[in-house]
Amino acid sequence: MEQFSDTELLELFRKSENKNYSFNLLVRKYQKQIYWHIRRIVIDHDDANDVVQNTFIKAWNNLEGFREDAQFYTWLYRIATNESINFLKQKRSGFIISYNDVESQLCASLTDDPYFTGDEIQLKLQKAILTLPEKQRIVFNMKYFEGIKYEDMAIILDTSVGALKASYHIAVKKIEKILTD
């Protein structure tokens, strides 16, 4: 499949007769990246499936207004992150007893998840990540698993590079402590 740059795809999108075709290409280009980013936040595949679709629908609805001040992929990542956070917020609002019940539930679901094929140590790592505060968890995933640059992360999460570095450093220390115990 011919690879178009984001600029070319966006130009194609702006010609109304090519809207669907160009958007389809954008989806195919970014679907895996966006899906895994979401999956690491919400853990469950069915939930990730819902959130990824909502992300691309939101992108479709707002693409006309995308001004290209930032790169397209950081814009898309931002939508995906916000959709994931909102999803967890909604889930949290359904729990009356404890604020942390969502993370506990995600932890428990990992054990029985047919789409989790990691070994024991991988399971331990995922559970350790789930003990982190939500934003710290997202920072850790984006740096450790996805290798995203701090500068891009700053745009996606609307946080300074310094704060992100500090957040990642603290997350690594916490996880290391859990893995050592």
Binding site: V27, R39, F116, L123, Y144, K173, I175, T180
Partner: protein, 191 residues
Amino acid sequence: MKKENQIPDNFENRLDEFAPNLFSIKNDNPFEVPADYFDSLPEKIASKIIATKKENSFAAKFRIIFNPKIYIPVAASILIVVFLIFKSTGIKTRSDQQMAYTANDNSAEYQYADSLIENGDIDESMLLETLTGIDDTSKNGNGNSGIEKNIRDMNKSTIIVSDSLKNLKVTDDDIIQYLLDNDDNDDLINN
């Protein structure tokens, strides 16, 4: 600031030094997806976009019509306009209509009454005496009151009173006032 809280330079690439246990776990992806998931995902998204468009066009129309921010002010405006129209057109009640009748000197009935008086069909002085209850037994010597005499005299007259006059609810004060206002009649003076 304590040294241990300082972030080491380039620590992200020195995890073997700062987090050996974490470093020993390969950052392979432990999650999976159903078979062919990514092959079908673009079509699922496209279908959902089409479905959302249809939903939005209906919902948008519905929201416009039933948006409280719109229909409450509109309903209030309509009520105010109706109230103002009601007030300004002066839709009268029955008693208002009756009062309007009595206050309107140009009504057909009053004009007819005027013509009867002018033609001498109605004796203004007799009418006035009757309405004011003047008791003048000395006039006829029969022991009949002046009122009864006047009524008998009136009954003898060939006055044709229209139905609308019969139904006219005119007060005594109205008639007295009318007569007083039109007291340039020579008959009245002569009697």
